[in-house]
Amino acid sequence: MRFIASRRRLLKAALIPSAASVMPLRFVPNASAEPVSAPGQFSYFTPVEFTWVDAAVSRLIPNDDLGPGAKEAGVATFIDRQLSGPYGRAETWYMQGPWKEGTKEQGYQLKLTPAQLYRTAIADIDAWCSKNGKRPFAELDAATQDKMLHDLEKGEIKLARAPAKDFFQMLVQNTVEGFLADPMYGGNREFIGWKLIGFPGPRYNYIAEIDDYGKRYAMPTVGLLGRDGTRVKES
């Protein structure tokens, strides 16, 4: 059975001449000009899930006196798109059983794909809130949200189905990715992440500047899709 299941995927791949030509399919057009939380705009999340993630990433990389954070950078949109694609489906991962809890040195051993882990954990966390007499996570004040995130990080909140620590680790990792990846993936809008740290984007040629020691690079930030980092909008 296992071979047949894999074979179906191989057959699908066989229709395509090379891996390189598959790749554009993995891109999702950028929609950064559109409102963040418009219903029906999501690739994977339900509106409730999107709101949850938007609230969480707002605490992980907050809007503060240094400037805008993950919410303004579109990180929830980034995560939504990632989870609807090959990453969310763990498409390239080895996902055959038997499933066992390993040592920490043996790495990820959950049967859940990243998309399934988000869905399960978000539902579990809101159920935990309800059971403990709290409003859903997204509706809590920032201090309470921070406390809950710390407790999830330490594994001090026990969830019904999802391992809290694994989920939290994945959430932080994906948030950093969305804040610092090329804007064409939906996060790092207007280069919010790159401008914060001083990364000029994929600039390609520094022969003239590399031995200009100690000087800040002066050219404006670019993305793979150009100066504003987004695709030209189709009419």
């Binding site: 296992r2 071979f3 055959q96 040195e105 790495g107 740290i197 100690g214 793979l224």
Partner: protein
């Protein structure tokens, strides 16, 4: 039922550096050569175009150029009393899939091993006594010497267009080069790359500490270069996207930029992609290979007959194929008998992050733009007082400043929140990191065999890896890390963060793709899988080429030695085997 295909003289299994070299050299000798590659074809244009390749998420984080564990992975455990579990996604190391293999996505850090690295056991016993080597440490000599390999190192360097400063040409020590290197017959084909600010600061601090720093030899071209096959390369632009990426600028040496423009046009060469070899076929005597079986994308099986089978896949895939094919006696750690899977080794790395006041623009870099010291590598220092075997280099690399994976933050920085954000803003442009790159010796309980439970998509058992760091390696790595911290201090930073490698080896996070051993070379068929020419002791028309031949791992990146071994084996096949097919060394 497998479809039987027309025979060829030579079949190469896997199409990376070693296959490209052997393909080029054996087609030059007139043989009909077929290369079978499990992944896709890919080339500078269009696959690595600069308009798309500088994408950290796609290539470095989501691992686009590598093997997919869904298709092929291994199981892992630290010790024999544990149950091995599958490596479900890539972590500690990243084998490639696709034409060019890891030669596409490497950094280009290209070294020669030291003369004493090839004599690890005999040299150590001679200088420090037999009792110096722990009983469970199964290190041995290679069966080939540095002096024998020197012309082949040279050839690989002139294939690649290595940028560097020689330290020892015909016994004459040159200022600014590595004074510890083995004698070379001539210098590098290209001068060193321009220096990043970080490497300049390291150089100054290392000199103040009394060391002799030098520019790391780089397979990133400092100038335009035409190589030994007439293939043209262009000058590196320091875009900072080498490791995990293909080069869009014809500046990083890879099969695509050095060999394929010639090889792929030859009438007596063929490359077949999406062809996963599952077995080497043997005749009824078990002493002669008749060809290989491979599976295409649609799951159809083919039998490809060949007179000579050369395994040129990633190190552990070669070992896996030997085990699946029944070539050579599998290693048994309990009895110590058997050879296939024996002496798996790795490397042990650590780093010291150095937080400076100056802007160092980490994003202006190249994969092998670095400054190193070699005082503590191999046997370049007296190990007597230290009581460990091995060593490594200490280097400051400016490989790039990709923001997701290449940012460094001071110790105790919060993992998230405003504290994290502020630390990112304060440090990204003002941080360098000093790396230590240490050897790992081989041990009786570090090995590969077939997993009893988990299988790949073809229904074959996965390779099972049993490996942990030993006390010798932890002490050696601590020694190196302390020296690195000393240099870091001399850079007068505002803060430092020492990342010491501690505890058990773990399959996450990424450390290095310098996996070695499992089909090691040597002079005794009881302790090596292949002879000094990388020819199977048991099936003489099978050669096994790659870092799987290393009897233990040295303190340098392996590609230079892998390239030299590929030329060495190609020469043995051309000058000896083709004249008289059969064992080149009598057992």
């Amino acid at each position: 039922m497998a479809t039987r295909l027309p025979p060829v003289d030579v079949v190469l299994v896997g199409f990376g550096w070693t296959a490209s070299i052997l393909g080029q050299e054996l087609t030059d000798a007139g043989l009909q050569v077929l290369a079978l590659e499990r992944g896709a074809f890919r080339d500078t244009v269009p696959d690595f175009a600069t308009t798309q390749i500088q994408d950290e998420l796609r290539y470095a984080v989501r691992n686009e150029l590598f093997e997919e564990p869904e298709r092929e992975t291994l199981t892992f455990r630290n010790s024999m009393d544990q149950t091995a579990l599958p490596m479900r996604h890539l972590g500690s190391f990243k084998p490639a899939a696709g034409a060019g293999g890891a030669g596409v996505h490497w950094n280009g850090q290209n070294w020669r091993f030291l003369p004493t690295d090839f004599l690890t056991r005999s040299h150590t016993e001679q200088r420090y006594g037999k009792n110096f080597i722990p009983a469970d440490m199964t290190i041995q000599d290679w069966g080939v010497t540095y002096e024998e390999l020197e012309p082949y190192y040279d050839r690989f360097e002139y294939l690649c267009g290595i940028s560097g400063q020689a330290g020892n040409v015909n016994g004459q020590i040159h200022d600014g080069g590595n004074p510890f290197e083995g004698v070379r017959k001539r210098g590098y084909p290209l001068p060193p790359l321009k220096r990043s600010y970080g490497t300049v600061l390291f150089d100054k601090a290392a000199k103040e500490a009394g060391y002799k720093p030098f520019p790391c030899p780089a397979a990133n071209t400092s100038k335009a270069y035409k190589n030994i096959y007439g293939v043209q390369m262009g000058e590196c632009t320091f875009c900072g996207y080498c490791e995990w990426f293909g080069c869009g600028n014809y500046s990083k040496s890879s099969p695509q930029t050095t060999i394929l423009p010639v090889l792929l046009h030859k009438d007596n060469f063929e490359l077949r992609t999406h062809a996963s070899v599952t077995k080497v076929l043997l005749d009824s005597t078990g002493k002669r290979a008749t060809g290989v079986v491979y599976v295409d994308l649609q799951g159809r099986e083919y039998e490809q007959p060949a007179d000579l089978v050369i395994l040129t896949a990633f190190a552990q895939h070669n070992v896996h194929l030997l085990l699946l094919s029944g070539i050579g006696k599998p290693y048994d750690p309990k009895s110590g008998q058997g050879v296939v899977g024996r002496n798996y080794a790795y490397q042990i790395t650590s780093s010291v992050d150095v937080f400076l006041n100056e802007i160092v623009n980490p994003f202006m870099g190249a994969g092998a733009l670095g400054q190193a010291i070699d005082e503590f590598n191999g046997d370049n220092f007296d190990h007597g007082p230290e009581k460990f075997v091995g060593g490594g280099y200490i280097a400051l690399w400016t490989t790039g400043g990709r923001p997701i994976l290449q940012h460094h933050l001071p110790k105790d920085t919060p993992k998230w929140g405003s504290g994290w954000k502020k630390a990112m803003a304060d440090n990204y442009l003002r941080t360098v990191s000093i790396a230590t790159h240490g050897s790992v010796m081989s041990y009786r309980d570090a090995y590969c065999d077939l997993d009893p439970t988990y299988r790949d998509v073809y229904g074959n058992p996965l390779l099972r890896l049993t490996f942990d760091f030993h006390d010798n390696e932890h002490r050696m790595s601590k020694f190196l890390t302390d020296k690195a911290a000393g240099i870091a201090k001399a850079m007068k930073p505002r803060a430092m963060h020492v990342n010491q490698r501690e505890g058990h080896y773990t399959i996450i996070p990424y450390q290095t793709t310098h996996n070695t051993g499992g089909a090691i070379m040597g002079t005794d068929p009881h302790t090596s899988a292949v002879n000094r020419y990388l020819q199977s002791w048991d099936v003489p028309n099978v050669f096994v080429v790659g870092s799987c031949a290393f009897p233990q791992n040295a303190g340098y990146n392996p590609t230079g030695t892998v390239g030299a071994l590929a030329y060495w084996a190609a020469n043995a096949i051309r000058s000896q085997y083709m004249k008289k097919p059969g064992p080149l060394v009598s057992a």
